[in-house]
């Protein structure tokens, strides 16, 4: 269904079909964008960019809240042979200050030469120290001559610079070539992925500035020349029923979302609304981007059975931005019920026999795509046998080139061609089961948080007299992680509202709700000889209740 080519070449091919994208904005306003019209728009925007002196390979940031505007600008940047760097728009970033800071970090780290935005967003950007940046408001009239055809790029040229987290002062940009994007898209729509059909219709509300919405829906649909409806994430978050209503209205067959979205639907879609939906057409209900909870899938299936939702439609999946997007898709829903104690203590996933005291239900995520490899390894990089938990490593054409201008982070992630995913899992009957993380990354509602950023934010609290701060998540396997902040402070120095202040600080700067704030006496946080806090040891001591001993 897909033909190898750069993003612009794929758009040219898609433009010969009668297919396209229907954009639904945050207020519900729909707009049809045929691939043919998108190509025309892309050449127009590319003309404007080229006329401003931008050269192939230059990075161009892209921050547009409107779905239609984002898509047109993305293809325009690609057609000009430039590298799009998507940014989170202001409404999703939180407040204006957070947005300005996040964007500035990424504009700076990517050495972007231009930013394509809208006239409403442009004034919110903080461009201090970014004098050489060209700002192009997409909705401002352009008298530039359209390009006759896209600027030619090779498959090994960089196609996308995807930043994984904007909350940090040193954000990491994942460098992906056209070959990386194509390899992943081909895997996604191919027979070992979704097994897409020419009659498939996709629906997505996933943010386009993230890999799952951008590569998984927009680019996959465009390469495969499928009709797709792309809704504003804001519309979904305001009214989760709008997602299901759209699937129902357009008789869509494919739609993906993180676990939390399925949970949100169970919680917020009323039984009276369900009666109006027909979800029988939805044959591939993808779930990924964060740990998948068997209980969530079960609750969703039973909540929406009355609307014709079929439990066998679930497609649990696993992936990460460093692997373009997807690593594997399950072909059917398989749940492994294993002994929780042996999983935690011995790192072995033993199927529970009747009478096991504590069990964990893990969801199978399938097998790697053709030409891609996946292994489970121990700390020395040796492959582990089936059902032994270890680090998930991947190799193949979807693996990123590295982190942009960050050789040390790249060397840590890419070892001998293998990508260290930072996730833990095991294989059973060839299927991957994901069950934790080796990195300290905290994942909430599909968003990733780096503990050092949260610790730095807390440390900046005025008047806080602390000798150490550690933030970590405790992985509860089949329920939501618990995020804990440990602060070292003398009892006399710890004002009574220190907990409130810390929570408030983390909420304001990162939009994350801490589950526990613990104040311990100085000297309780374990440290390295050079005085750096040992995060995982702190977590272990906290779990065992031995932190302040």
């Amino acid at each position: 269904m897909t033909v190898a080519g750069t993003v612009a070449q794929a758009l040219i091919r898609a433009a010969r079909s009668d297919r396209g994208i229907r954009a639904i904005e945050h207020d519900g306003r729909p707009l049809s964008l045929s691939y043919a019209a998108l190509l025309d728009d892309a050449l127009q925007i590319a003309g404007a960019l080229v006329s401003r002196g931008l050269k192939p390979g230059d990075r161009v940031a892209l921050v547009i809240p409107e779905i239609s505007g984002f898509i047109r600008a993305f293809f325009g940047i690609s057609a000009a042979g430039l590298v799009p760097v998507p940014l989170c728009p202001p409404a999703q970033a939180g407040d204006v200050a957070t947005f300005a800071k996040q964007s500035q970090h990424i504009l700076d780290a990517s050495h972007a030469r231009a930013v394509v935005t809208s006239s409403a967003v442009a004034p919110l950007l903080d461009l201090t120290g970014l004098d050489r940046l060209t700002v192009l408001a997409l909705d401002a009239s352009s008298d530039a001559t359209p390009l006759a055809e896209p600027i030619r790029r090779s498959m090994d040229d960089v196609a996308l610079l995807q930043f994984t987290s904007g909350s940090t002062a040193a954000p990491k940009g994942v460098v992906l070539t056209h070959a990386n994007l194509y390899a992943n898209v081909a895997g996604i729509v191919g027979p070992h992925g979704l097994g897409a059909r020419t009659t498939d219709i996709g629906v997505s509300w996933l943010p386009l500035y993230h890999d799952m919405g951008l590569i998984g829906m927009l680019l996959a649909a465009m390469y495969a020349r499928l009709d797709t409806i792309i809704m504003s994430p804001v519309l979904f978050l305001k009214r989760p029923s709008s997602w299901l209503e759209t699937i129902s209205r357009y008789k869509a067959t494919v739609s993906f979302a993180p676990n939390f979205a399925y949970e949100l639907c169970v919680r917020r879609v009323k039984p009276s609304q369900i009666e109006g939906f027909d979800l029988a057409s939805w044959r591939l209900a993808g779930c990924g981007a964060e740990p998948i909870r068997a209980d969530t899938l079960r609750a969703f299936a039973s909540h929406f059975a009355a609307a014709g939702f079929d439990r066998s439609s679930f497609v649990p999946s696993y992936g990460l931005a460093e692997h373009a997007l997807a690593v594997c898709f399950a072909q059917r829903l398989v749940i492994d019920t294993v002994d929780a104690d042996r999983l935690v203590r011995q790192s072995i996933a033993v199927p529970s026999v009747n009478g096991s005291r504590r069990v964990v239900r893990l969801v199978a995520c399938g097998r790697p795509f053709p030409h891609h490899e996946l292994r489970i390894v121990d700390e020395d990089g040796r492959s582990l046998p089936d059902r032994h938990v270890g680090a998930i490593v991947c190799r193949g054409p979807s693996v990123m080139q590295g982190y942009f201008e960050n050789p040390s982070a790249t060397a840590e992630a890419l070892r001998g061609g293998w990508l260290a995913t930072g996730d833990l899992g095991y294989l059973a009957d060839g299927q991957l089961f994901v069950c934790g993380r080796t990195k300290d990354l905290i994942i909430r509602q599909g968003r990733k948080y780096h503990p050092p950023d949260l610790e730095a934010a807390i440390a900046e609290l005025p008047g806080l007299r602390t000798s150490g701060i550690v933030v970590f998540a405790i992985d509860h396997l089949d329920e939501a992680d618990e995020v804990v902040a440990v602060l070292e402070a003398r009892a006399s120095a710890a004002s009574h509202d220190i907990e409130d202040q810390v929570r408030r600080r983390v909420r304001e700067t990162a939009g994350l709700e801490l589950d526990r704030v613990v104040v311990t006496p100085p000297g309780s946080i374990p440290r390295t000889t050079s005085g750096k806090v040992r995060r995982s040891e702190t977590r272990e001591r906290f779990r065992m209740g031995t932190l302040s001993e």
Partner: protein, 94 residues
């Protein structure tokens, strides 16, 4: 379309009262919102709940909140002011 019900003595109360009711319903813990309360910092809302609030307000008052307005709203007073101005713009049109 919003239907003006039996004219309340002070119409501004309706916006404040209904918004507070919706806030309390959405919150995952008991809250006592004041006009100066900040949604994120004081009431413990996350960005998801803020959008849930916007959705509920849009349905309740039959309004559409412009995307860019969201980034400027921090306190309950600002929410109520936004709702009031959108409803009155709406009534002027009809």
């Amino acid at each position: 379309m919003p239907v003006p019900t039996a004219t309340p003595s002070d119409p501004s109360d309706r916006f404040e009262r209904d918004t507070i009711d919706i806030l309390k319903r959405i919150s995952r813990r008991p809250i006592d919102p004041k006009l100066e309360s900040e949604l994120l910092a004081d009431l413990g809302f996350d960005s998801l709940q803020v959008l849930e609030l916007v959705g509920e307000l849009e349905d309740h008052f039959a309004i559409a909140v412009p995307l860019n307005d969201l980034t400027h709203i921090k306190t309950l007073a600002q929410v109520v002011a936004e709702v009031r101005s959108l409803v009155s713009a709406q009534e002027h049109q009809s």
